[in-house]
Amino acid sequence: MRKTTQSCFLLIILLIRIVPSLSSTVNYTDPTLEPVVTENSVIRQKIIDSQFKCYERMNRAPPYKKKGLFCNRTWDGWLCWDDTPAGKITAQNCPDYFPDFDPTERASKYCDETGNWFRHPESNRTWSNYTLCNSFTSEKLKMAFILYYMAIVGHALSIMSLLISLAIFFYFKSLSCQRITLHKNLFSSYVLNSMFTIAHLIAVVPNPGLVKRDPVSCKVLQFFHQYMLGCNYFWMLCEGIYLHTLIVVAVFAEEQRLHWYYLLGWGFPLVPASIHAVARAKYFNDNCWMSVDTHLLYIVHGPVMAALLVNFFFLLNIVRVLVTKLRDTHRAESNMYMKAVRATLILVPLLGIQFVIIPWRPENRLAGEIYDYIMHILMHYQGLLVATIFCFFNGEVQGALKRQWTQYKTQWGQRRREHCSTRSTSYTATSITEVPVYLYHHDSNNEQLNGRYAEDSELVALKSGETS
């Protein structure tokens, strides 16, 4: 999940930035670029630590075996450099000692043709190029701030829209069916995921004091965060499996038993989250488990990606079946493609396929920024998108809301005439809400697949040849 890594790195830069300014004591325009022993003890500790590791490595690594001139391995004061063949530029990631150093940028060192390290022409001292490390940091920090606030706003909007959708689903009993039950669970997991993400973004990320203290509560928060991430994607998988069973396996399905879905959606994500917690505590027990530099995160992200992959294949299968069904009706090609495209587009946000199709960040700076914005919108506004598409754009929901609205209007109108009449309006109100939903499904022109009688209405539409 490289986008997570990217966003987490940016948030961590933010975290470091909020610490009272620890600027490096080196003047970068100065050609000497002399790594001085700095006053600040934390930074100094890190540098001494790296120095120790460097000399250890220099001691243990086997001597240079290849032919030709080479520059000897060396410690330049900040980073360790291996034996390099003459005439080559070697590069590695910038260190993270200073707040304005970006560890994703590269520092480089040139070994000249004579087998000596490059000396800066002005000072004639051995010099490594760290200029890229802090040259773009201010722009990146600005963007990190923007992305941070975007994430918080996205999750807040998602929570609001999802709660409204849940309220609608719970209030209108007439909408209830198995698919809506799955939607309710999916929406709940989105709400909880957003809540934990916001808690993490607001309480932990900008709070280096808390991270330094490393209480157990912030690790517990991370555990639940990982658990909710799993729940989110596994509920999406449940929706996919349900649709697949409904459409592909048996179109006129009897009621499926939902407890397996509950088990997969709520129960199973505990497994990767717990394994991750145990592995993290044992092998990579950093403060608040915030680091994203560890492959142990794949313990949670691996199953999530597997779930997405399986979902993707279910989607393809569903689309294949839909298109095949449509082809059998002998309708005009355009209609068929339209329906297929619409069906696919409805399912894509449902199944979170965008993470499967766009996992790689472009190298180009501008393209990378655009990628970051798009991925952040897709990630953090997903709850809003799902609520909108599956609740607010749902024809049945719109129908139910319209009915409720007209009912209120009649109530208001009748209340004005109340002092004239003794007739109660409650009888009329009850009778309206108890009318079964199938009488109204012909009104719905979107979301034919939602609701119990979806397959019926689809086949009716196909047979009668009406465009909807």
Partner: protein, 137 residues
């Protein structure tokens, strides 16, 4: 003023004689380091928490002498010096035992593959069970 010029020239000419630098760090800094390390005790030489202070002082010492002799720090002598120190004192220590790092692949892979396999199994199980419930009217 003309008298100063030869003096300046003299100082510039003696700036950073690397052999002198090497000798000085071995005779001043290393002695202090040896005493401290003996004080810590050989058994604890691999314990970074114990030795970090002494190691830091050794580094500081080499920096100060570099400043005194108008040498750039670090340099070739520093590299050779520290490699020798590591060879003598930290030879038997586990490499980079301090830093957080991932467990070896033999441990990491099962940790990752197991949840993935269990996920696929669970998915297959749920698909199978939901298919089977069709038959149950």
């Amino acid at each position: 003023l003309p008298a100063c010029l030869p003096a300046q020239h003299f100082i510039a000419a003696t700036a950073c004689q690397e052999p002198d630098y090497g000798w000085m760090i071995r005779h001043y800094c290393l002695k202090q380091f040896q005493l401290s390390m003996e004080g810590i005790g050989q058994r604890l030489w691999c314990d970074w928490d114990e030795t970090v202070g002494t190691y830091g002082e050794l580094t500081n010492c080499t920096v100060l002498i570099a400043e005194r002799l108008d040498c750039y720090w670090p340099n070739r002598q520093v590299d050779e010096f520290f490699v020798a120190v590591h060879r003598q004192y930290f030879r038997n220590c586990s490499p980079s035992g301090r830093a957080l790092h991932d467990p070896p692949n033999a441990v990491l892979c099962p940790f990752i593959l197991l949840p993935v396999l269990v996920t696929l199994l669970m998915t297959a199980l749920v698909v199978w069970r939901s298919k089977r419930s069709e038959g149950i009217v």
